[in-house]
Symmetry: C2
Subunit: 283 residues, 2 copies
């Protein structure tokens, strides 16, 4: 059915449909792919997870730049019309270089998340949670300060949350206890907005909301990234015509473990067959 | 005081004291350093944590071989009289190559742990816990099968335990719940011996024992590795003379985060100043 739809699509249009290229160091960026599917259902998406070299956090800026250029090159070689960096580390360290070397539009997760946090806060005090690497990089603080120097940012590294998500412990008393442990001080500090500064965390929104109740707004970087993508597609006049449903294609640089299926189920994504791409993994 | 002791030591003996060289992909291998300090208090230890390239798990065999040869080379350049691979991944994939290229004795954590498990089990059913990479590699199963083909091995990956240790949540109800989750099926399967197949796990012995009670013996790879080191020192006649207390020197390939101090405190190790060593981290 899919191949039929594609070929009739090609017959109707002189240009084949170009996908939005999305990449992450691993599987977590599929939350961004899911947000794109929800907001832009007629767009094709080509997602590459660089699972052979995950995690990027902790690697040097030069290495992350090189990885980002390599993976963006694979996406562009597949006809991608824009590059979405669905990875916090690569957003912080890879985008400046990509913007210099790639003709197509590029966006990441940090600036859209920072923009949404500034728009959301009423009391001028924003919390950010992320991996140890993201929090240590200070990328969200810098992005928020650039937009609104008066906003106060309180950050907290939550290194147990990614493994909890990867275990599939999404609706789980252990994960609830871990969330409570991490959020307790942030809540006491008086934040009214919490940025989910890691692409895995949207899968924990129910768990985080159970602890936070309604008083603190959650800023989902994946959703805000999807809004930024929609704006770029419109500005650059490269949005796909509506009507024909888009497809999601996933490729990984190393065979995945069970987390791909956890994410597929939790996100309601139809991932289907996963291609394996070669990258040089020597370190 | 230390430098005085060293120079008088040198005056007394024509040969400077050569350290035992220990390496790990990160900080976890300090449990092996602590076991060596306890068993062989008069030995000097030089420990390198390859924190710039942690984790090794998930990298290719060729890459891990290269890392192992590089780090062993740094230890040997500092005069190490033997190489202790205090890392499960490097023990599985790096030792065969090291044994071919290094003249000094080499040992790791897997074979000593497997030997102790075979000696411990009464009912012939051993459990192994470790990271996803170690369990997927099957290294403990292979090592146990080579020693005692009749012993049954049941394995379980426990990816939440390393981050729990690195958070310092050693005596903690959340960690107790995680241990219970992971161990429940292993206990139900009828094991009478449990191998701690990750260098971080000795720090969880109290938590694991709280769940297991007295019925299941814990095999601590770090302790068994120290016994193997003592045997190799004696066989090769390279043990340090008793009397003069040994020193521990630690070097890392990337500035450490808080886990070094967690380990230092939990292990009662006097780590002191930590040197920074350069390795090529591009990957």
């Amino acid at each position: 059915m899919h191949s039929d739809a594609t070929s009739s699509d090609r017959d109707a249009s002189p240009q084949p449909k170009r996908p939005i290229g999305v990449f992450d160091s691993g599987i977590g960026g599929l939350t961004v792919a899911a947000a794109l599917r929800a907001l832009l259902p007629h767009e094709d998406i080509f997602y590459i997870g660089d699972t052979a070299r995950v995690p990027y956090g902790g690697k040097s800026q030069a290495t992350i730049e090189r990885y980002s250029v390599e993976i963006a090159g694979l996406l562009l070689a597949s006809g991608a019309k824009m590059i979405v960096v669905a990875c916090n580390t690569a957003s912080a360290f890879g985008i400046p270089r990509l913007e210099k070397t790639v003709a197509e539009p590029v966006t990441g997760v940090i600036v859209p998340g920072a923009r949404a946090a500034v728009a959301s806060t009423r009391n001028g005090h924003v919390g950010v949670i992320g991996t140890r690497g993201t929090i240590r990089s200070g990328a969200y603080e810098r992005a928020i300060r650039a937009l609104a120097p008066e906003v106060r940012v309180t950050s907290r590294a939550c290194p147990m949350l990614v493994p909890a998500v990867e275990e599939g412990w999404l609706d789980d008393p252990i994960t609830d206890s871990i969330c409570a442990r991490y959020l307790e001080e942030l809540v006491a500090s008086g934040i009214d907005t919490l940025v989910l500064g890691c692409t895995h965390y949207p899968l924990l929104k129910p768990a985080l909301a159970r602890y936070l109740g309604g008083g603190i707004r959650l800023v989902d970087s994946a959703e805000n990234c999807a809004v930024a993508v929609r704006n770029l597609l419109v500005e650059n006049r490269i949005a796909a015509p509506e009507g024909c449903p888009g497809k999601l294609q996933v490729a990984l640089t190393d065979p995945s473990d069970g987390f791909l299926r956890v994410a597929e189920r939790a996100l309601g994504l139809a991932v289907g067959d996963v291609a394996l791409l070669a990258v040089k993994t020597a370190g």
